[in-house]
Amino acid sequence: MDYFDRFAVPHPSPAIYVSMVAIGLTVIAIIAGLTYFKKWGYLWREWLTTVDHKRIGIMYLISALLMLFRGGADAIMMRAQLAVPENTLLDAQHYNEIFTTHGIVMIIFMAMPFIMAFMNFVVPLQIGARDVAFPRLNALSFWLFFMGAMLLNISFVVGGSPDAGWTSYFPLAGNEFSESVGTNYYMLALQIAGLGTLMTGINFITTILKMRAPGMTLMKMPMFTWSALVTNAIIVFAFPVLTVALLMGTMDRLFATNFFTTANGGMDMLWANFFWVWGHPEVYILILPAFGIYSEIISTFSRRNLYGYKSMVGSMVIISLLSFLVWTHHFFTMGQGALTNSIFSITTMAIAVPTGVKIFNWLFTLWKGKIVITTPMLYSLLFIPIFTIGGVTGVMLGMSAADYQYHNTMFLVAHFHMVIIPGVVFAMLAALHYYWPKMFGFKLNEKIGKVGAWVISMSTLLAFMPMFFSGLDGQARRMYTYSESTGFGFLNMLSFIGAIGFAIGFCLIVYNIYYSTRYASRDISSDPWDARSLEWATHSPVPEYNFAITPQVNSAEAFWDAKKHGHELFTGEYEKIHMPNNSGVPFIMGCIFFAWGFSFIFGMWIPVIISTIGIFACMALRSFEKDHGRYISVNEIKKTETSRGA
């Protein structure tokens, strides 16, 4: 039995045992359900083997929502523990594990797939393409992300959860201070998911550069596509840094090398530098697509074209360049000296300029517009003031001298939640409501949606505003408890109530999905919001080939011009359409990667070697395979188009 001891959880608690049982029961329920309803074939043919960018987008969306609940549960536990002084709900070790996985799950496995979901679904439609440049690679990207996420999520019931913070600074994350396999999970799960993200980056840059509809020059691309292009460029340049850092970290932990140790020449600060050389651009990987979404929504519901198109593009490009020049501001207090700190202070504050340009462009788009308040628009309008609070406190943190006061306090925690939640989460929820009719052919209920938007935005303020004050008073982040004499109790109780508000808000969104699926009218037009860009020019839900005839583009708002100014979007006859074949290889390769990662984490070298061979066998299979795709005939297109009422 000694062999199996390694899989035991090092710090068990009743909650973990309950989770084990719950996970077991859920797996059994899913398997039983699929078998009972005879859905295995459907699942395999329509989803697991799909290479369709729209279905992959939907799978990203489902994963993101699932992970939102995992990360949310972590958040509630943290806030509950801190709600009153000297609380004993969680012990120190358990608290460490929870704030670590909360960070990783929310950033890597919630925000990233949420963005990938809309990038996958929307970008090919916005540029009038049939699919992405490399559809099968796109499926592989998804499965690598998904398997990475699953790997991290089983950590707390098999072998132990990572507990060194989502930044996993060395030497704390080294073998000496983190004995359990938790940090191995961190290294391998992020590595696998990161490879998937890198491939997505390459895929989407190629797609956007090569597959735009005729007439769509770069400066006539919709703003979300522009944001996707810039984001993917950041991905391609930032993720390899993470790859190397994780490789070195893995070697330190499993092969006893001395990259980040404190002996034999190792340098722990090298990890911190590499982590943030990736980590800070990562922040902009999250926020830029969100900005793109806001640009689409604000211009649609102001019934005006986007103000300052060129300055929007320019500011995104400047942000992407500056994002690589600010990483040191994450550790101003760690002794680089005044000159270095000053330089990074200035670059950090400089980012506020292009971001401010964007904020003002949105305000000027609203100015004199005929504003229609829908759920997506409500999220966008709430975003502007709340995000500005977060942004301004970011400039405060960017001042290196003042940062000695703010560093590692709840002030910082309040700041980044006040930018990420209104910036990314509101944008993704807005996009969820905005693109839902295009994805599924019916709208989400507006009334429930708007209540949800208000509940979530007010909870943001309630949960995080108190942290600015407790942080300035000296409450350190990542502390699992505090004494009553500190006086932090009341502020933390407010935060806890805010966290409960969040939970209610997200439950409302789930209820809305359930309610609308049952009761919403299916009889809506393919353009329910009176929108402006190409994705609304095709049917809802979108047919597999996206557009029966490739659209002709004349401006950044070709669809609006077609509706209002008599521009001919679709000219010519139906022609047969070339589509890629489905393939099970990406899914199987993802599973092998899971096995590879899992055995690597536990240092089981024989399975590692076998699965490595398996991975290369999949690649060889792809190389030798003759797969030229298939054609959809003109008759089939006519049939589909007539059935959708064209």
Binding site: M251, N258, F259
Partner: protein, 198 residues
């Protein structure tokens, strides 16, 4: 599949052009990967702990063989692509074969060299310097190893299917990869070995 005969075979279809652009972007990511490794190397080069320095362990003979062999292989893969454009499949296959053979020689010498490092007390765990040295060299070596298998599978496909837009595209992309590995080696040669020997 529309074939444009005014372009070289490897560029002749839309998908081919997309593949080549995609691969260039991948090379961009690879530059960042090796760039990060070099940054780590420069940071850790003097942090030798109780272990040897570069000057203690670098040997000039295997280094020169490796450099000569790899640079020559970059030339021969260029000749292979040139032959491909002239439609001379046999010449192309010969040059491809020579390239892979030279790659194999490079790899064997590198394995010999690693063995030497190990025997003079510069193992992976010795110090931060040896760890980053072996990781950087090893990452390049792993790329060469992968390239050998990849190149072999392309040779097999060209032999079986002849020069089609698809096989030509694969061969061309492989040549980009191989040239890139050569460029990385030039940096390794200059900034790791020569600088270390000085």
């Amino acid at each position: 599949m529309k074939i444009d005969n005014s372009l070289p075979l490897e560029y002749s279809t839309g998908q081919n052009q997309i593949n080549i652009l995609g691969f260039w972007i991948f090379i961009g990511a690879e530059i960042m990967l090796f760039g990060t490794l070099f940054a780590a190397y420069f940071t850790l080069v003097d942090r030798t702990g109780n272990g040897p320095t570069g000057a203690d362990i670098f040997e000039i003979a295997p280094l020169l063989i490796e450099t000569f062999v790899l640079l020559t292989s970059s030339f021969t893969i260029g000749l292979a692509i040139h032959a491909m454009r002239l439609g001379k499949q046999k010449a192309m296959m010969t040059f491809f074969g020579i390239t892979l053979l030279l790659g194999l020689v490079f790899l064997s010498v590198e394995i010999f060299e690693f063995n030497h490092f190990y025997h003079v007390g510069a193992g992976l765990q010795t110090s931060a310097f040896t760890a980053i040295l072996l990781t950087t060299l090893g990452t390049h070596g792993a790329h060469v190893t992968f390239g050998l298998f990849w190149g072999l599978s392309i040779v097999l496909q060209v032999r079986k299917r002849g020069l089609t837009p698809e096989t030509a595209n694969k061969s061309f992309i492989f040549s980009l990869y191989w040239h890139f590995l050569d460029v990385v080696w030039i940096f390794i040669f200059s900034f790791i070995y020569l600088k270390g020997l000085m």
